[in-house]
């Protein structure tokens, strides 16, 4: 079925097609439409799920933990302040190995009050152990929810599907909504081998000393690493079944590129015509959009970026006192490579400041002009 839907509704459709059994959510701008549509889907009987209308995001995640521990496929969605409020229980969901899928709409953190897009909310949660997918189209949002469950349920780790506020959450695009039977074939019913089961009573999460805690963390890391291959496989398989393949990254005119932009989310879509323009002007420009940020696709980026003349990264997030996260991590991935290219780190679009073609082009031209980057942060278009 073809349908024009907004980004937020793509999350709801993704949860519906994945046959989420429990949804627990609390409203926050710009996420509200996700849960409103899900409420309606449940009320109309289109989605056979228990909907827990909790009193906070902290409880949204805690309720999701309980439901997931009981063996149910569980979905929630939030944004910014709500995600930050969940912080403690985000760690809990990972440590308890619960394959919850959550949509997070990237909104800048207050104060001052703001509702516009920025990735610092989800970037702040990168060390909670949640796997993170950064999307760049409405179709990808819906498809990513379905793929997220497929990965989460194999590694028993939670997955966050991330989208830009307004630029994606409130933009309408034509979407292919696949048949339920096809999605069921791709994503069968899940039986959690470690669920709370009265036939096999066990305690989960009890006091663990230094003799075992370390090993439990090692296992999380190993399964997180394994999820990298699973994201690739499931993305490929998704392509075979639905005609839309997905990878860890998406590239554009990369093959012979000498100067490569690494970025994420909607900025990557805007960057494509910039690449075209630059190529017309004689610059061999290319693009890498990082889609899966946790686990970080270090090996793949090393393969794609080493030997290039220049790499620039645009971050719509900031780790104060350091730089943008995508820049920081891409640079770290390439540090030990002999042919690592020089790397420029640009900050743009914080708090929803528009990042149009001109701004992206400016970052390229700055990078072309210089031989070597000075410092780790270049602010584009800041009013000083």
């Amino acid at each position: 079925m073809q349908k024009v839907i907004m980004g937020n509704h793509a999350l709801s459709w993704g949860a519906l097609l994945s046959r989420a059994e429990v949804i627990a959510a609390y409203p926050i701008t710009p996420q509200t439409e996700v849960v409103e549509l899900l409420s309606n889907m449940c009320a109309d009987g289109d989605l056979d799920a228990q909907f827990i209308k909790v009193e906070s995001e902290h409880s949204a995640m805690a309720a999701s933990m309980g439901a997931s521990a009981a063996g149910a496929r569980t979905f929630t969605a939030t944004s910014a302040q709500g995600l930050a409020l969940m912080h403690e229980v985000l760690h809990w969901a990972t440590g308890a190995r619960l394959p919850i899928v959550m949509g997070n709409i990237n909104r800048a953190m207050a104060p001052p009050w703001t509702i516009w897009t920025e990735q610092t909310d989800s970037i702040s949660e990168r060390d909670t152990g949640w796997l993170q997918i950064y999307t760049s189209s409405i179709q990808e949002i819906m498809d990513s929810v379905i793929q997220a469950y497929k990965v989460a349920e194999q590694v028993y780790l939670p997955v966050m599907v991330v989208l830009d506020s307004f630029v994606l959450s409130h933009t309408n695009e034509n979407c292919d909504i696949p048949d339920q039977s096809k999605v069921d074939a791709y994503l069968p019913k899940f039986e959690n081998a470690y669920k709370l089961d009265v036939a096999k009573p066990a305690a989960y999460g009890g006091l663990t000393g230094p003799d075992w805690y370390y090993e439990l963390r090692y296992k999380i890391q190993k399964d997180t690493e394994r999820s990298l291959d699973l994201f690739e496989e499931t993305g490929k398989e998704f392509g075979e079944m639905f005609g839309r393949p997905y990878g860890l990254v998406e590239t554009y005119k990369l093959d012979d590129a000498e100067i490569v932009l690494v970025t994420s989310a909607s900025i990557a879509s805007t960057a494509r015509p910039v690449i075209d323009q630059l190529r017309e002007e004689g610059h061999k420009a290319g693009l890498v959009r990082i889609r899966v940020f946790r686990p970080f696709p270090s090996d793949l980026l090393r393969k794609l970026l080493q030997g290039r003349k220049k790499v620039l990264v645009i971050d719509r997030n900031i780790s104060f006192g350091m730089s943008g996260a995508f820049y920081e991590e891409t640079k770290a991935a390439l540090y030990n490579e002999k042919s690592a290219p020089p790397m420029w780190g640009y900050i743009a679009g914080l708090g929803g400041r528009d990042v149009p073609v001109d701004v992206i082009k400016e970052t390229f031209l700055e990078t072309i002009k210089e031989d070597h980057p000075e410092g780790d942060i270049i602010w584009i278009g800041v009013k000083k």
Partner: protein, 302 residues
């Protein structure tokens, strides 16, 4: 003599409770009433330690350890997960201390109760943060010494009336209980099991290290708390109708206070003040019970 408490033990030996722990007794009786088709969740509390370190567990039922402020809502989530899978006959129990109930967990508990999610919430109340070394909570009674309310500046505030707060949510059933009256406790749990919605049980659990009392007095002190009217046993049905579970002739409050080091500093005047507060509260409950009589006459039986 006919015993109403099931002989079956669900809880195992080998738990890590202190000697004379009321919370351990409370769990033993609770599981007798609840039976093995029960799933529990514990927030941070004494029971997160009592149950035993990984990979051991003493409760004998599936248990999800959770964050301090989330017991009620994790139980809501488990309930929803089970219902989604058609396992509606399993009891879901949030089992939390007074800190996790009266203080840090009150928001999630209020949410669960307002939605009337079908769970049993048991607060075992030892009247302070015993697990972290006896710091005051809002369940600590007026006059008590804790590690954050020293004798020279003992707890100046009255114990929060958690039952009233729960009742204000029109909760179908809330009841107080005591480890000294296990038959009453088991009866209340059986009633809680038999009805849908959120059920809240508030059980006083004596704590020898925290109360600075002898372990062998644990049950006796819990009984004296009831007999001196300090911790009355009563029920509130549908958030409005009160019923006293027993109405014992009041013993002097000093019988309860004297064996406990946490009240040793109180002067005679201060004890009299405390006694007045206890009487005030008790009279209020009796009035409510009197007002509620027609409701229980109509109800017949329960």
């Amino acid at each position: 003599m006919k015993y109403t408490i099931p002989a079956e033990e669900v809880m195992c030996s080998g738990h890590k409770a202190c000697q004379g722990c009321g919370a351990a007794l409370a769990m033993r009786y609770a599981l007798k009433a609840l039976g093995p088709r029960t799933i529990m969740t514990f927030p941070a509390c004494c029971w997160s330690v009592i149950d035993g370190p990984f990979p051991y567990s003493a409760v004998g039922v599936p248990l999800f350890h959770t964050a301090f402020e989330t017991a009620a809502v994790v139980a809501s989530g488990i309930r929803a997960g089970l219902d989604a899978r058609g396992e509606e006959d399993i009891n879901v129990v949030a089992w939390a201390g007074d800190g996790g109930t009266f203080d840090i967990g009150i928001q999630a508990l209020s949410g669960t109760t307002e939605r009337n999610d079908n769970i049993i919430y048991v607060c075992y109340d030892n009247e302070a943060y015993m697990n972290t070394g006896v710091q005051r909570s809002s369940a600590t009674p007026w006059g008590a010494v804790t590690s954050t309310t020293p004798a020279r500046h003992f707890k100046q505030e009255r114990k929060k009336d958690m039952m009233a707060i729960l009742a204000a949510h029109s909760i179908p059933y809330t009841a107080s209980a005591s480890v000294a009256y296990p038959e009453d406790f088991v009866k209340k749990l059986n009633y809680a099991k038999s009805i849908k919605g959120t059920k809240f049980l508030h059980i006083l659990a004596s704590c020898p290290p925290g109360w600075r009392s002898a372990p062998e007095l644990a049950v006796q002190l819990a009984r004296l708390a009831v007999q001196t009217h300090v911790f009355p046993l009563y029920e509130i049905h549908e958030g409005r109708y009160f019923r006293m579970s027993m109405n014992p002739k009041k013993k002097p409050i000093t019988e309860y206070l004297k064996p406990q080091g946490r009240f040793r500093h109180l002067t005679e005047e201060q004890v009299a003040d405390m006694d007045r507060m206890v009487d005030e509260r008790y009279e209020y409950l009796l009035e409510q019970a009197e007002r509620s009589k027609p409701y229980f006459e109509d109800k017949k039986g329960n």
